[in-house]
Symmetry: C2
Subunit: 198 residues, 2 copies
């Protein structure tokens, strides 16, 4: 008997159940591959340990089930699938639960905010690195979009990957504008000086 | 004697210490007001309990100190200030520590990714609400920027607030583009249908 759901599941559990909702029977490792290919661009890049703890939780409440199969290499592996009640609960979560506000923890912006404690060269380096990372993520999201475009039933993942491609392109451009602003501030003489000695 | 720093402080501790690094002596409540006016746009909107636990941690390692003063209303209150070692440690963190990649948990994008489980009307509602929230945050970040522009020594907070204003304007525009994409998908007949019964 599945344990009753006595408190709301965290969004990370719904995200893992969401991966199973595309209909395939997946190992924990494959769930992680799906996450790396899609979820990480807009939500979460989970560790294997997090995937397994969410799958265990989903099984306990009856939203996922698992079985052991023998792979081509004769080794056994455990595969997970969404259950009927799991699909109903997930659809209710998407359709009826208030959407939590986006979480953004922007380490580069935090450093620039503390620019009075850093050298202008260090701030430039931080923002330039962020710009380059954003370009890389933009390329990776575009690759994810092209892959999704070939799969029937993945129209929504494709649409979100398109959004992610634009998001990281915007991040790249915002970083470029920030570099311009930093250069202007440095040459204006208005930049608060570094004085770590207090 | 301050306790030694036996393990790295989390970024949230540095963020609170960062608020004190602008040089004012602040109560916990005032630290929270600063966070609401700046940090929340790019990093963190901390609860009072989180502020107090970070301030306690910072005092324990000797990076902040506090004293009790009597306010205008004759009630006592505790005010916090950054110490010399705290300023040095924070500057070292900004200057020398690798920047952690941005964390983004985008609940609206997660729902759209699971669009095969929702009605088109619900997806529109979620994205339109996100667009309106982004516009509100854009306006609030611009207000924060204008306030910072009047304060000597806040050139970097002003610069980051300008970045945040552009960031939320981009979020708004990206949501608008997503609405267009959703409408096109709905009218194309390619949208995977909702089938919550499994």
């Amino acid at each position: 008997m599945p344990r009753s759901v006595d408190r709301p599941l965290p969004a990370t559990a719904w995200a893992v159940l969401g991966i199973l909702s595309f209909g395939e029977e997946l190992t924990g490792y494959e769930v992680r591959q799906w996450a790396e290919h899609s979820l990480r661009f807009f939500y979460w890049s989970p560790a294997m340990s997090q995937i397994y703890s969410e799958l265990k939780r989903l099984e306990q409440v009856g939203y996922a089930s698992s079985r052991t199969i023998t792979g081509d290499d004769t080794r056994t592996k455990r595969v997970y699938t969404i259950t009927g009640p799991g699909r109903v609960a997930l659809a209710e979560w998407v359709e009826g639960t208030p959407v939590e506000p986006p979480v953004l923890k922007h380490g580069a912006a935090l450093r620039v905010w503390l620019g009075h404690l850093a050298t202008p060269e260090r701030l430039r380096e931080i923002v330039a690195q962020h710009r380059d990372n954003a370009q890389r993520l933009c390329d990776e999201a575009e690759f994810s979009r092209r892959t999704a475009a070939d799969v029937p039933g993945w129209a929504y993942p494709e649409l979100v990957a398109r959004w992610a491609t634009r998001y990281y392109a915007a991040e790249r451009d915002l970083a470029e504008q920030m570099l311009t602003d930093l250069d202007e501030l440095a040459s204006s003489g208005r930049a608060p000086g570094r004085d770590p000695s207090g």
